[in-house]
Assembly symmetry: C2
Homo-oligomer: 193 residues x 2
């Protein structure tokens, strides 16, 4: 009765439990064996689904990007151009604050160093959508004379940077703690308003 030989849904269970522990302790303290203990399976069981710890983290990252894309997809209801860019940037930051564990994985160089092709392509596609939106905005007159590549660089840096500032503890000291969300929007509006 108790603990059948097969878990039944170990792969998903590993992913969700990993994300939980990831938000408590960092990625450095994420251990496949501890995960196995938490789920009541043997220490080698996770290897059937993720041959390597890097594979687990990669799968988590892929799920994270999908979640991020879904969150920013809601901005498609905004009119194309700079309003949509603004909505996407805000959605990105909101997602990062609501899913700081996933965001941390995506920002971790030691995880991304081993990014699979799937993950890389997903990120490239995400970047391409932003590029297209920038060009659409420029066609509508927004910063028409700027180099699109410069605008893209600026947009990515600003959104990624804002997400990091909002997420990393190290910044929570110097950054004002009141009206965070409001100030974030105001900051983004300096570029996209």
């Amino acid at each position: 009765m108790n603990s059948p030989y097969h878990h039944g849904n170990l792969r998903e269970a590993l992913l969700t439990r990993a994300i939980e522990t990831l938000s408590e302790k960092g990625v450095e303290h994420l251990s496949l064996r501890a995960l196995a203990r938490d789920l009541g399976v043997s220490h080698a069981a996770p290897l059937r689904h993720f041959p390597t710890k890097a594979d687990l983290l990669n799968a988590i990252a892929i799920g994270g990007v999908h979640s991020l894309i879904a969150a920013t997809d809601a901005s498609q209801t905004c009119p194309s151009g700079s309003p949509r860019l603004r909505a996407m940037a805000l959605a990105y930051v909101d997602w990062a604050m609501a899913n700081s564990a996933l965001h941390g994985v995506l920002r971790n160089p030691d995880v991304m160093r081993h990014a699979s092709d799937d993950l890389s392509q997903l990120l490239v596609a995400f970047a391409d959508r932003q590029k297209q939106e920038i060009e659409a905005a420029q066609r509508q007159g927004w910063r028409k004379d700027e180099d699109p590549a410069v605008l893209f660089l600026h947009l990515v840096a600003l959104t990624a940077g804002t997400a990091i500032v909002m997420t990393d503890e190290i910044y929570r000291g110097p950054i004002t703690t009141s009206n965070i969300r409001q100030k974030t929007a105001a900051s983004i509006d300096l570029f996209l308003g």
Copy 2:
């Protein structure tokens, strides 16, 4: 003659060797024992100088911040206000590109999670200098009517984000690879030009 009992300068040797391996492999593959092997001392010798791996990384981070501060200090020759802000932002990005290993340590959440008080205070002081410069610029008329807190948030996000985009491999695909330095300056000028 070979290998005297005391190394003589083990602490410094550990730090420099650690930074070397850090730029080759990531922080996840940095091992105190491997460091000891590289330097020809016993596996426990590093513990005399850094009781814990986190202490080593913290010391590396402190050295990194000092290096970063020195790099941005060169901007003090620029006239105070937005020109100096611009120079500091560019110096920050240049430093990050020239010292990507150190920058990676400073951006690693799992390192900064255990930041010592010394390190935190150093970063707060660095942030304060930027705040002061922003206020000086506003007194001179630059974006006079904006909330200083919003400007600070924007500046930090933009510089940190640009440094990350320039440093992380994951961004090197979507970002154009030609005239990087020029586009970086142009991007920063969108805010500080």
